[in-house]
């Protein structure tokens, strides 16, 4: 069952870019595309560069999929699924996220902790 956690206000997000939030001890990268009113949440850890940096990558789309490019070695991760476009065997945690009354909410399930 999804449990929504208030993380920050929409005003704290960076339009067309990312920020990182600490949610129940997890580093969550939150990306915001205001034109589409879209928000996405992935784990902040870059499994190729082994560093917590994904929130600082450039976002956009590749062949219609919303993506973030790692700022270290430029691999792309699908913002909805966390799957790496260059190596589909690599998948990072993607979290449910929504905006409710100007508040950004993330849901982290128990499975997410195991990952």
């Amino acid at each position: 069952m999804a449990q929504w956690i208030d993380v920050c206000s929409v005003d704290d997000l960076q339009p067309d870019s990312g920020v990182c939030a600490l949610v129940n001890g997890q580093q969550v990268a939150i990306f915001y595309m205001p034109r589409e009113s879209a928000v996405y949440a992935l784990n902040n850890y870059d499994p190729f560069g082994n560093a917590n940096v994904l929130s600082r990558g450039v976002i956009g789309d590749i062949k219609g999929q919303p993506v973030v490019a790692s700022p270290l070695y430029k691999q792309h991760f699908n913002l909805q699924t966390g799957v790496c476009l260059e190596d589909e065997t690599v998948k990072i945690p993607a979290y449910a996220i929504r905006i409710e009354n100007g508040s950004v909410q993330v849901s982290i399930t128990e499975q997410d902790y195991e990952l």
Binding site: L22, M33, V58, G60
Partner: protein, 845 residues
């Protein structure tokens, strides 16, 4: 395998060296112990471009030997030691210094010597020749105390020598025995046109003059007396009246020589001794001495092939030439004098624009036999291909030399050329070789140059190479896709033009009008960079922030663990003790790892994102500003200490470096830019390895462009010489603006220039001669960037809203627990995986 045979090469001039390089390129060097003798004190250098020695090039610049070439390939070279004698019975060579060596195979590449007519007085003071770097130094010395210089000989080399005298600031005359200049290559009308052009440049030409005596002058050191009774006073007499083969060593050991000199060779370049070859200007093939390098190189290739046991023969060489003599374009192809039986001649002469063209065709008007071009040599490539490949001429051959009357093109399409057609004559690269390289994946001019060497000699074939490449790529179904990415069907240059013409100020507007999708990490930073170059807005403005790479977003350089490094600007590498202490104090306070960079500044590593504004606040208070090490922009202007302190310094290199760095700091460009300024030709600042390099000389600043270090180092090219500071800065302004406008994303200046059609000459014509009429605009564009400069870090720490982002978590003040440092050599470094695990365990415990 047994012991290796010994291969001895006598002579290390252009052809001798080309032979050695060709041996190595073909792996034949491994079969032999190789020993070379070089009479001159330095190994092979480029005699074709000798006059550039006077326009700023050094002996090193002219060198044809890659550093480490002899050592890496295990070639013993005796420099400054002349091979004196060949003992054919014992198969050995003895040198002047007493080196004695046995040979199994011997190659003579002794070259030629300048012919000095036996005129009485020819050995007087300041009577010189033009062949070696030592000759040039003698000319330089003589020119210091002289005002007038005369070249005897109006051929190719004579006119080159005249340019050298002119560059030395002398009143220059050319004296030619024949009734016209370049008598071997040009016909009468062509020679006359060339003469008018050269005289317009301030060189006095005397033709049909026979020198009978050189004696004491009244105003000058020497006086030349001519057979017709006229006289000419001059300080320097420079003989350039042709060459003679150096065949004494061959005569001495009774090898066959021609009646007028030259070591006789057969089609395999073998002399009358089956173990001795001769190549280059010392060799006589079929009664001919070839005084050009290309045939010499062809002979060298023949010998390499013969040594490798392949069937090869030298069967003569094309003597066609295209060159720029004192800025005048001249070309001659094949039978320029129409000596062939039944040859027909077409001539086109345009007195107003000083163009002369002559076409020699066969009786049936189907074959091109020869051509002469003066003033406009644009048709050279096409004509040469017609001539060399026997391609049938169009119905009206004169269309090839007449100005185009309509849109019809008479140029030879690349598809019309056979695979055997030679595209590059300097390196003998055929169309077939180019096509093979393209099939193997080369798809840019730069890649083709690197792979085939085509167009890396004189560069004359660059347009032809490009058209062959484009046609082949299209044929192979390679779509020559130059789109920057899937979001914009445009090149970076197109995007720049759209932004400029439509005055677009944001990515969103550009995307809406000309793109699709949401953008990506390719187009966003590229457009961000163009917007910054053109408008010079603050890059962290909210509409630009999402475009920036992480380094630009945080105005610092991200390292492997997600921390950042900080590089404050230290202009020209000049820093006071107080500033250095202030920098040290900041480093110490924040426990940063500190390292000196190659660009003469200090890099502070290990700053967490939340620390960046605090650190910068302190740096700015101490008087520092952003060093833009994080941006694709001007990095540093490195300098040597210059004339202020150095006893060799010619000018104030530090002062100029500081001025240049302050002028161009903050300029966003397609890739990073590095500069350097050296105070003298010792070049301690390594300016010739930079995008823009400046070197002080006695006569002003020399400007070098398009060099770089890194993965593929490239020496910068000499762009302009003896500049005053105002002109220097004007050229750099234009150069940078033009680069920013036209380069691809992440393309350094070197690759940009190499891929440019026309290369360095074209770049010069745009920047110096204003061929495109752009210079004023380019300067204005630069002035805008200079006028709107601000320190990005100062702007950032003064704006509360921008600082919000400089936290690791948006909702917590905790730092990133994955950032762990350990100590090494007294400073911090990121912990490795093992060390990290260890720390985690300690934490849990």
């Amino acid at each position: 395998m047994g012991t290796k045979q010994t291969l001895v090469v006598i002579g290390n001039g252009m052809v001798g060296q080309n032979f050695l390089a060709s041996l190595v390129a073909n792996g034949i060097n491994k079969n032999y112990k190789i020993v070379a003798f070089c009479e001159e004190p330095r190994a092979a250098y480029d005699r074709v471009h000798l006059s550039e020695f006077f326009s700023g090039k050094t002996a090193d610049d002219l060198s044809l030997v890659e550093p480490g070439f002899f050592e890496q390939n295990d070639i013993t070279v005796h420099l400054g030691d002349k091979a004196n004698k060949i003992y054919r019975h014992s198969k050995s060579v003895v040198s002047e210094k007493g080196v004695m060596i046995h040979y199994d195979k011997l190659v003579l590449a002794t070259g030629s010597y300048p012919f000095v007519p036996p005129v009485p007085g020819h050995d007087r003071a300041n009577c010189l020749v033009y062949r070696t770097i030592e000759d040039l130094v003698a000319m330089q010395t003589a020119a210091k105390s002289g005002k007038v210089g005369v070249v005897v000989g109006g051929g190719l080399l004579g006119l080159e020598a005249a340019k050298a005298l002119k560059d030395l600031g002398l009143q220059t005359h050319v004296v030619e025995f024949a009734p016209r200049l370049m008598a071997v290559q040009l016909d009468e009308a062509g020679g006359a046109m060339l003469r008018r052009k050269i005289e317009a440049l301030g060189v006095t030409v005397h033709t049909g003059k026979n020198t009978s005596l050189i004696t004491d002058g009244e105003q000058c050191v020497n006086k030349m007396c001519f057979a017709d009774g006229e006289e000419l006073e001059t300080d320097i007499v420079l003989f350039s009246a042709g060459i003679r083969p150096r065949d004494d060593i061959a005569r001495d050991c009774s090898l066959d020589v021609g009646p007028r000199g030259g070591i006789v060779i057969n089609n395999q370049c073998l002399t009358s001794d089956p173990d001795i070859y001769a190549i280059g200007e010392c060799a006589l093939w079929n009664g001919m001495i070839y005084g050009l390098v290309a045939p010499g190189y062809a002979m060298a290739r023949t010998v390499v092939a013969d040594l490798a046991g392949k069937v090869a023969s030298f069967t003569g060489a094309d003597m066609s030439t295209k060159l720029k003599l004192m800025g005048v374009d001249v070309a001659s192809i094949g039978d320029a004098h129409a000596k062939s039986q039944g040859a027909l001649v077409y001539t086109y002469q345009n007195g107003a624009s000083e163009v002369y063209k002559r076409l020699v065709v066969s009786q049936d008007k189907k074959q091109l036999l020869g051509a002469v071009l003066v003033g406009d040599v644009s048709g050279y490539g096409t004509l040469l291909q017609y001539c060399l490949n026997g391609i049938e001429l169009p119905e009206n051959p004169d269309a090839l030399i007449l100005p185009p009357r309509s849109d019809e093109s008479v140029g030879l399409g690349p598809d019309a050329l056979p695979m055997s057609a030679q595209i590059c004559s300097c390196y003998d690269v055929t169309k077939g070789a180019v096509c093979k390289a393209i099939e193997a994946g080369c798809s840019t001019i730069g890649a083709l140059k690197a792979e085939t060497k085509a167009s890396t000699g004189c560069g004359g074939c660059a347009p032809l190479l490009k058209s062959v490449m484009n046609s082949e790529l299209a044929k192979h179904g390679f779509e020559v896709n130059t789109d920057i990415c899937e979001h914009f069907a445009y090149t970076r240059q197109d995007l720049y033009n759209l932004i400029m013409v439509e005055e677009i100020r944001t990515f969103d507007v550009l995307l809406e009008k000309h793109g699709k999708g949401r953008g990506c990490e390719i187009c966003k930073p590229a457009v961000g960079s163009i917007l910054a170059s053109y408008w010079n807005d603050y890059i962290l403005k909210s509409e630009h922030l999402g475009l920036q790479d992480t380094n630009d977003t945080f105005l610092a350089n991200m390292q492997k663990d997600g921390t950042y490094s900080i590089v404050p600007r230290i202009t020209g590498g000049e820093i006071s003790p107080d500033m250095l202490i202030a920098l040290g104090q900041v480093g110490k306070k924040y426990k940063l790892y500190t390292k000196i960079t190659g660009g003469q500044r200090v890099d502070l590593f290990g700053a967490r994102v939340d620390q960046l504004p605090h650190i910068w606040k302190e740096l700015i208070d101490a008087g520092f500003e952003s060093g833009h090490a994080y941006g694709k922009s001007l990095r540093t202007v490195k300098s040597c200490v210059g004339s202020t302190w150095c006893r060799y310094g010619i000018d104030d290199s530090v002062g100029l470096a500081v001025e240049l760095e302050n002028r161009y700091k903050g300029l966003r460009s397609p890739h990073k830019l590095k500069f350097a300024v050296s105070g003298c030709t010792r070049e301690c600042a390594e300016a010739q390895g930079k995008d823009v390099g400046v070197i002080a000389t006695e006569t002003g600043w020399n400007l070098y462009v398009c060099g770089n270090g890194g993965m593929k180092p490239r020496h910068a090219d000499l762009f302009a010489t003896s500049l005053d500071k105002e002109t220097l800065i004007k050229y750099i302004d234009r150069f940078l603006s033009f680069y920013v406008r036209t380069a691809d994303r992440l393309q350094r200046t070197a690759v940009w220039m190499e891929n440019m059609e026309g290369g360095l000459d074209y770049l010069k014509s745009v920047i110096i001669d204003d061929k495109l009429g752009l210079c004023e605009q380019l300067e204005q564009q630069m002035q805008h960037v200079i006028d709107t400069y601000h320190c990005e870090w100062k702007t950032t720490i003064e704006d509360e809203s921008k600082l919000k982002r400089f936290r690791h978590f948006i909702n917590s003040d905790q730092p990133d627990d994955n950032v762990v440092f350990v100590e090494e050599r007294g400073q911090i470094r990121p912990a490795d995986e093992e060390e990290r695990k260890h720390f985690k365990m300690l934490e849990v415990a």
